[in-house]
């Protein structure tokens, strides 16, 4: 009976979403308090109902109810308990349910913390969020019902995709979705402002924390996905420019631009129209990402079984939401009035620098979008089946991000409106010299990839030192830091750490693929990797070939690694589990290829210097977003 209850909960939630949309939006237009007051209870009710539906599906997984099709297809009686919970969002239907639940959580949060807003604004924001909710719930109910029965029930389920049976994957989708869906809030605010016909500083002060929190979660989600791909796919890479990775990266770039432009609009009143457009774009790109992942139009590691009906549904929804939002923008943005002339700014001012930041991030976003969609375009135009290689993204990204990195330390140091360029230059010149000096030292110390190493060290040191220079100015002044400033310092510091990691691992990474017999040793630089053989190991739902690999550094024993090759009982699928010795200075990464006979194995060994810094940097950036959101100024009425 429970699954039917879940179904009923879903349908009721859809009705609540309708209620949350129609009455408040109408009420706001007609200025009827009673109708607008419906928004909050409807949002809470929707949240409660979806929590219920989610609990029902979780219960079906925990009790292994194989009469539910989705459970039968994505779990198995041998599946360990922890993965029964995460299997709930392991495939299409469940992950959409998670999407809807996360949206309801954001709606609930907005309903709870919007009491200080004018009733009309709050009603409109919740109403717009309701529209999105209607779309996704309808999608869930009509094309991807997670509660559909499978009669007669099979005795055994098919199992969760082994790729997903991993602790990293338990939290990666929720984090990512909280970020993705979180951009619905600034989007709803933008639409509300357009309906209202004005943007004021109060309004922006109110949306900024939401954007920062959503962006923080998205950063965490992407970092977790990258970390997971690194150790689980067994290729040793941390970013592949895979369409689905790009799908999550585009809203991230737009979001990064948005948090900066919102700051300008809030503090100076400039760029109001652009900020609204970015808010629409960030969420539109989130929806596009969902479409790309869910419809299977692109070949990717993440493409689940594709169903054309689903793709069509999302595409229509996408067109309606984005088209509607842009139409509204075109009709109303003019009425917002052009920027206050008293707010004009000179070429050397913080506004100009943030404008450059926005243009570069937007260009990078457009570049990724083009590269991701180009195969679809080429196919549609009959130009053949093509794929766009990682060098395209890599080259263009470096070209666009280099000026961003060069300008970044100036941002916080230059005054609003007008400033003397010489002042900031004088402040930063010694640090620029130091950064270049460090780069030169790195150039001569690097065993390989000298130019990239030097670029990485210089770039990271420049951003780090420039950011520290700002902190020093504050310390010498009144010594007070607002949460917003600390968030900025964390974000920019995180970018420096990330830069160091990404460029150094790119330059210094050593990779070998060799056939190794037991007792053989592979020497890479100062590392000696000795293959001692492979034995069998029984896991809960798999059998593993478990390798024993001893790693020495100079004359010191460093680690005993156990890379595994797992054969899952259910589908006969094979999985690679890399053996990793992780340190801040670099990882030793060993993965088993295949057995070559005579106890010999294909072995892949990577030495990856500073690879941890990539995720550490991302973590700092996310933290920066959260800390910024906590600034007390945003909570002032």
């Amino acid at each position: 009976m429970l699954p039917e209850l879940g179904q009923i909960l879903l349908v009721t939630a859809l009705l609540m979403a309708l209620l949350q949309t129609v009455l408040p939006l109408w009420g706001a237009q007609r200025n009827r308090a009673a109708w607008m007051a419906v928004a909050r209870p409807a949002a809470y009710a929707q949240l409660g109902l979806l929590l219920g539906a989610f609990a029902v599906l979780t219960a079906a997984f925990v009790t292994q109810d194989f009469s539910v099709r989705y459970v039968a297809e994505n779990s198995n009686s041998l599946l360990p308990m922890a993965y029964r919970y995460s299997a709930v969002w392991g495939a299409h239907e469940g992950s959409l349910l998670l999407w809807a639940l996360v949206l309801a959580l954001w709606c609930g949060a907005v309903a709870l913390w919007s009491k200080r807003l004018p009733a009309q604004v709050a009603a409109r924001v919740l109403g717009v969020l309701g529209i999105i909710s209607i779309g996704f719930l309808a999608f869930l109910i009509f094309t991807s019902n997670p509660f559909a029965r499978l009669i007669p029930a099979p005795l055994e389920g098919r199992d969760l995709n082994p790729l997903l049976q991993d602790p990293g994957l338990i939290i990666h989708p929720p984090m990512l979705y909280i970020g993705y869906v979180g951009f619905a809030v600034p989007f709803a605010f933008a639409i509300a402002a357009l309906l209202e016909g004005r943007v004021d500083a109060r309004w922006l002060r109110w949306t900024r924390p939401w954007t920062n929190v959503a962006w923080g979660f998205l950063t965490l989600g992407i970092a977790l996905g990258s970390w997971w791909a690194y150790y689980e796919l067994g290729w040793g890479g941390w970013w592949f420019w895979d369409p689905v990775e790009n799908a999550s990266f585009m809203p991230w770039l737009a979001g990064a631009a948005l948090i900066h432009s919102q700051a300008v609009t809030e503090k100076r009143g400039s760029f109001a129209g652009w900020t609204l457009l970015l808010a629409i774009a960030a969420f539109a790109l989130s929806l596009l990402g969902t479409f790309l992942v869910r419809s299977g139009v692109l070949t990717s590691v993440h493409s689940f079984a594709a169903d054309p009906a689903r793709g069509t549904f999302i595409l229509i929804f996408l067109a309606l939401v984005i088209g509607g939002a842009l139409l509204l923008y075109v009709l109303r943005a003019g009425a917002l009035g052009s920027d206050d002339p008293r707010r004009g700014f000179m070429p050397t001012s913080r506004e100009t620098l943030l404008l450059a930041n926005n243009l570069l991030l937007a260009a990078a976003c457009g570049m990724v979008l083009l590269g991701t969609l180009y195969p679809l375009l080429a196919d549609a135009l009959g130009l053949g089946k093509v794929s766009v290689g990682p060098p395209y993204f890599g080259t263009l990204f470096v070209v666009l991000m280099a000026p961003l990195v060069a300008l970044l330390p100036f941002g916080p140091l230059v005054n609003w409106q007008r400033d003397q360029a010489s002042r900031a230059l004088a402040m930063l010149a010694p640090w620029a010299v130091l950064a270049v000096l460090l780069g030169v030292i790195a150039y001569f110390m690097a065993p390989q990839g000298a130019l990239k190493t030097a670029a990485g060290v210089t770039g990271a040191a420049w951003v780090m030192l420039g950011t520290a220079r700002f902190a020093w100015t504050r310390l010498r002044g009144n010594g007070r830091f607002t949460a917003e400033m600390i968030g900025m310092l964390l974000g920019h510091g995180g970018l420096a750490v990330f830069l160091a990691g990404a460029l150094l691992v790119e330059a210094l990474n050593v990779q070998r693929e060799v056939a190794m017999a037991p007792g053989q040793t592979l020497e890479i630089g100062h590392y000696a990797v000795r293959f001692e053989g492979v034995d069998h190991q029984q896991g809960p739902n798999y059998v593993a070939d478990r390798g024993h690999v001893r790693v020495r550094y100079r004359d010191r024993a460093l680690a005993l690694l156990h890379p595994e090759k797992r054969q899952y009982a259910s589908g006969g699928q094979t999985m690679t589990e890399a053996g990793i010795h992780a340190r801040l200075s670099g990882d030793v990464y060993v993965a088993l290829g295949e057995s070559l006979g005579n106890n010999a194995w294909a072995v892949r060994v990577h030495i990856k210097p500073f690879v941890r810094w990539i995720w550490l940097g991302a973590l700092l950036m996310a933290l920066g977003g959260f800390v910024t959101a906590a600034d007390r100024r945003f909570r002032r009425p």
């Binding site: 067994g234 689940f304 570049m367 590269g371 093509v386 794929s387 766009v388 060098p391 070559l596 010999a600």
Partner: protein, 153 residues
């Protein structure tokens, strides 16, 4: 020109210059980094040319896989139902690689063999890359061979 006009003019020129530069860069980067997908029949027909890097898609022929003991060098044959093409690689093959399943290999032709520096296989036991299925579908309508639908469960 009034100062306001002049400033606008400068902005417009700057934006034009920037977008022109960006377009050139993007076009250049795209041109150099796109890889076309061909099936063995198309390769043998000469569609792929001789020098360029491209991607080869098709099914691994049953019984064609061989590898010298203790070495990484692997040989196998890829087919689209119409033609066969031998492939050589010195890379570790992905977990899902098996005879009778779909692969996409990137590399170039050399002496009638395809030398692959990367081999990708389907991601789970049911999934066939859509572009391969599409291309194979075209080849197979002539032969009445059942091609697995993309992502069919």
């Amino acid at each position: 020109m009034r100062p306001v006009q002049r400033r606008r003019m400068v902005w417009v020129l700057l934006i034009l210059l920037a977008s022109g530069l960006a377009t050139t860069l993007v076009a250049f980067a795209l041109q150099r980094n796109i890889a076309y997908l061909y099936t063995p029949a198309e390769v043998l027909r000469g569609d792929a040319g001789t020098q360029a890097r491209f991607r080869l898609g098709g099914m691994v022929v049953k019984g064609s896989f061989e590898r010298a003991a203790g070495s990484l060098d692997a040989h196998f044959v890829v087919t689209d139902g119409d033609a066969m093409l031998p492939v050589t690689t010195a890379r570790i093959l992905p977990d899902m690689f098996a005879e009778g399943t779909a692969v996409v290999a990137s590399g170039r032709m050399q002496d009638g063999r395809f030398i692959a520096d990367e081999v990708l296989a389907k991601h789970d036991e049911n999934y066939v890359p859509k572009e391969v299925a599409d291309k194979m579908g075209q080849a197979h309508t002539k032969h009445d061979v059942v091609v697995p639908a993309p992502g069919a469960p």
